[in-house]
């Protein structure tokens, strides 16, 4: 049997930190639901649904990152760029809830922390990096590269969020600097995969429907591609 994606399981974090991350994540997601109303309409709601489905599927594909280790997409940066940071948080949260409830991937008491690290931190960092960087590039290719950089940086950011949680409420006595270095190192490698996938998917959507990509709104890239078959859909 193949080992698959592992989010934080139950037992890694103590009860106080588990509760704290639940409260923080719940508050942020509640805000995200309110904010998402503005960003979701008949055109963007299906794209958000599709993004969740794609992220769920892509997270099943662990890719090797050298010496006996693998990584998988988080998808926070991708979701933020495609549907915006607030809706993006909800996209990744839906995936994490389905994984925890149905597939026992990620613990139930750890769900708050998993949501905080992957649905909130990765999404926000990915979004900020993309919006900051996209001003300095021209064209779809440039935007796709910035998307890749956003995806790349979102992964070590997410890993560091775990390290902070572990520093506060980890259940095993470990050297935090060693764990931080190891987590940072391996997630920089995994971030390369995240960046490649994020860049490729954003490039693909930009090539066919740049007008629906939330992250390029207000830039010259957002104009619809003038092509009969694309206009017809």
């Amino acid at each position: 049997m193949t080992t698959i994606a592992m989010h934080i399981p139950d037992g890694f974090l103590d009860i106080p930190v588990s509760l704290l991350t639940y409260v923080i994540s719940a508050a942020i997601l509640a805000l995200a639901v309110v904010k998402s109303r503005r960003d979701l309409d008949d055109k963007t709601a299906p794209l958000a649904g599709l993004t969740a489905v794609f992220v769920f599927a892509a997270q099943m594909i662990n890719f090797p990152v050298g010496a006996g280790t693998s990584g998988h997409l988080i998808g926070g940066a991708l979701a933020a760029i495609l549907v915006g940071p607030w809706v993006g948080m909800l996209v990744i949260s839906v995936v994490l809830v389905v994984q925890a409830l149905l597939f026992a991937d990620g613990g139930l008491t750890a769900l708050g922390a998993n949501v905080l690290n992957m649905a909130v931190v990765a999404t926000v960092v990915g979004w900020l990096v993309f919006r900051l960087g996209v001003r300095f590039v021209k064209g779809r290719g440039g935007a796709a590269i910035v998307a890749g950089v956003a995806g790349f940086l979102s992964v070590p950011a997410s890993a560091m969020a775990f390290v902070i949680e572990y520093a506060i409420g980890g259940t095993a006595p470990v050297s935090l600097t060693a764990v931080a270095a190891a987590m940072g190192g391996v997630h920089l490698l995994i971030g390369i995969g995240e960046g490649v996938i994020t860049g490729l998917v954003v490039a693909t959507v930009l090539a066919s429907r740049p007008d629906i990509v939330f992250g390029v709104r207000g830039t010259g890239l957002a104009k619809p591609v003038v092509r009969p078959e694309a206009v017809a859909v």
């Binding site: 709601a45 769920f56 099943m60 693998s70 990584g71 389905v98 149905l102 597939f103 764990v179 694309a230």
Partner: protein, 94 residues
């Protein structure tokens, strides 16, 4: 939009149902570090570990390819139901 939904949906189904079988079976970054530093021993089974779909396999289906593929396909369907349901419910009505 319809075209993106169809193509994107097909890509997701192929990834979850077929390509997932060829995914790396090595521990992921977190599991690897947790194993190296003695954190992994503190992991406890999730309350959902007895789910018939736990660990992305359908319990009772012996064939790994079939079991994992069906679990992936079911995951895509459930994720789609939850996500499309949520986002259509929250959206602005025009």
């Amino acid at each position: 939009m319809k075209r993106i939904l169809i193509i994107g949906g097909l890509v997701a189904v192929v990834l979850a149902a077929l390509v997932s079988f060829y995914a790396s079976s090595h521990p992921d970054g977190l599991e690897r570090v947790a194993g190296d530093y003695g954190i992994l021993d503190t992991a406890q089974d999730s309350a959902t570990s007895t789910s018939p779909l736990a660990d992305y396999s359908v319990s009772g289906v012996a064939n790994d390819r079939l079991s994992g593929g069906a679990a992936g396909l079911l995951g895509v369907v459930v994720t789609a139901g939850a996500a499309f349901g949520l986002f259509y419910a929250v959206r602005r009505r025009s």
